[in-house]
Amino acid sequence: MDLEFTAEECQFRAEVREWLAANMPPSPLPSMNTAEGFERHREWERLLAGARLSAVSWPERYGGRGATLIQWLIFEEEYWAAGAPGRVSQNGIFLLAPTLLANGTQEQKDRFLPRIARADDVWAQAWSEPEAGSDLASLRATATPDGAGWRLSGQKTWSSRAAHADWCFGLFRSDPAAPRHKGLTYVLVPLDADGISVRPIAQLDGHPGFAEIFFDDVYVPPGQVLGEPGQGWELAMVTASSERGITLRSPGRFMAAADRLLALASASCRDEAMRAQAVRAWLDADAYRLYAFAAAARLDGGEALGAQASLMKVFWSELDLRLHELALDLLGPRAELAPGAPDAAGEGSWLDGFIFALAGPIYAGTNEIQRTIIAERVLGLPRPGRVRR
């Protein structure tokens, strides 16, 4: 067991820190959920890509630099500590790409991965439907064979930034006769394809961060099916475990928030109880950091994360909310100021962060679903007898 970073790891950290210091935008970018902000974030992704920093753990041929998992965790620590912009390419890099790397053909990897790394294509996720949220397997949108390809019909919703994105990856029912989890196909579709229309939906922060996507007989050639027809659910679970575990939400983000929370508590707070809560929340961020290092060692040793990803998801999402709730408590009357208000000063981002953190227990599978997965698959508690499976 060695908890010291190697010289190589320290060097990588220094390189990332220097690059960020030299290249950070001079002021925060507008929200990526707006048209202007989306494009500004895309430009930022291109800058990262130019330094091979947009997907550090990918092989070089796809735009990465073959970094180890530990190095990727270090990158994320530095990235969030620097206050760098949110990752508009996150769906492509952290959700789709692991599935592509694991299950895509070489042609698909060559075609899509470099474009994801460079933000030439920004991706949206087209899974949820109005009637299929937690019960994703009940989804109704269809993929009907058309020659060698497919025709997609139906409606997807709650798709983050789909109004601005270039492509989407979606799950469609390709075999209505098959059992629910067996008849689904994982499809890659450009959002400017014939028959697609996208309707933005405003979120709690007032920005059009969500969208509905309507598919009206949209043609998809065979090369845009990921894996085999009918294999969609399995592939979606690869994506899901990336989302829940360390890939989408690495500890760096929460460490940065926890450090800022401590600074706020230290500077502004006389209330011992609140100071104690801030300390306890910081400790949870530290625990998550250590857990991720331990998970990286297990992954390096060839183990899969499996249902542990669910433990991680519940933990980081509720930690994030706690950190932000505590910060708002510490801000006193300023807690209700919008980020742009003059008196919000440097602390306005806490409110944005709080509103975003509220989504954490909902996306990537609600925490209610996750707790049930933990109970059934990690602890082995019995499934309910009378529920349809």
């Binding site: 060695d2 908890l3 100071r275 910081w282 400790l283 290092f293 060692a297 433990l311 707790r371 049930t372």
Partner: protein, 353 residues
Amino acid sequence: MRFAFTEEQRAFGRAVADVLARSCPPEVVRQARADPGVRAGPVWRSVADLGLIGLMVPEEHGGIGGDEILAVTAYEQTGRAALPCPIVETAAVAPVLLTALPDVAQAWLPRIAAGEAVVAVRSPLSPYVLDADVADLLLICEDGTVRATPPGLVELTPQPAVDPARRLFTVKAHDAKRLPRAASPAATAVIGRAVLVGAVLTAAQLLGAGRRLLDDAVAYAGKRRQFGEPVGSFQAVKHRLADALMALEFAAPLVHRAAWTLARWRGAPGEPLTARRDASAAKVAAGEAAGRAARAALQVHGAIGYTSELDLQLWLTRVWSLRAAWGDEAYHRSVLRTALLDGDAPPRPERVP
């Protein structure tokens, strides 16, 4: 950076678990509650034969010369078995304290390593001394000094505890001037380290006890049927147990990191920047997680869990006791507040998490 135990370290933990499964089943823990002789009896012998008592005694004194990383997997198993013996005090803390009393160390460490001596410790954090009545040697930390005394020179007042397997005493020395003592800046540093070791390995025991409680609750919930279903199939039960697991899973890395910090800085002068923070983090998190597991286990068992019929109470009371031992919550939280809010040291040193 590689945050993982070696196969050798894991194997040692498994070996300890196997031995304790045979030598320390719940019947032995129950017996220990009634019979004061169990603590230094065959169960003590079984862990001595395994090398656990000499684990952290230096080789030149007849021990194995192992470190806290090796110890932490083993001590978790002692918590899981609710071992009714002063193993933290004798096998982990005493070897540290005795570095301040070289002559006493010379005489006693070989006997400790061989499992032939039980040591009781009064730490600066608590006046309550575990198993002083069966101790061969008593080490008293007070005002930056360490004093060693045979028990005959002190008066023991029993302080019955919630866990009857833990016999606590307050201690009064008849004639303090006659006792060997070490009082120097070095003694303060030694006491400081001893407290950290005590806290971290007690935290490991709490993890083990918590996991045992969770396992028992899961087993019970799988068998107990109400309304035609095992109660473990109900969501409220599932979610409570999932939360108990989560607390234990995220406390464990803090305990393991603290063990690493102590092992890494062994023998080096001074105290690593984060040692107190790391030890207190381990104790707070493990205490809370074990407490949550205890609460969940009792709740899932329902009324029968509230009786003394089940073995459950052996672990419930152990958790409640250990949470107050080697630094209670208030003490450790205060260390953390100082380290994180008031200190000069950065919360996260560069090279080491």
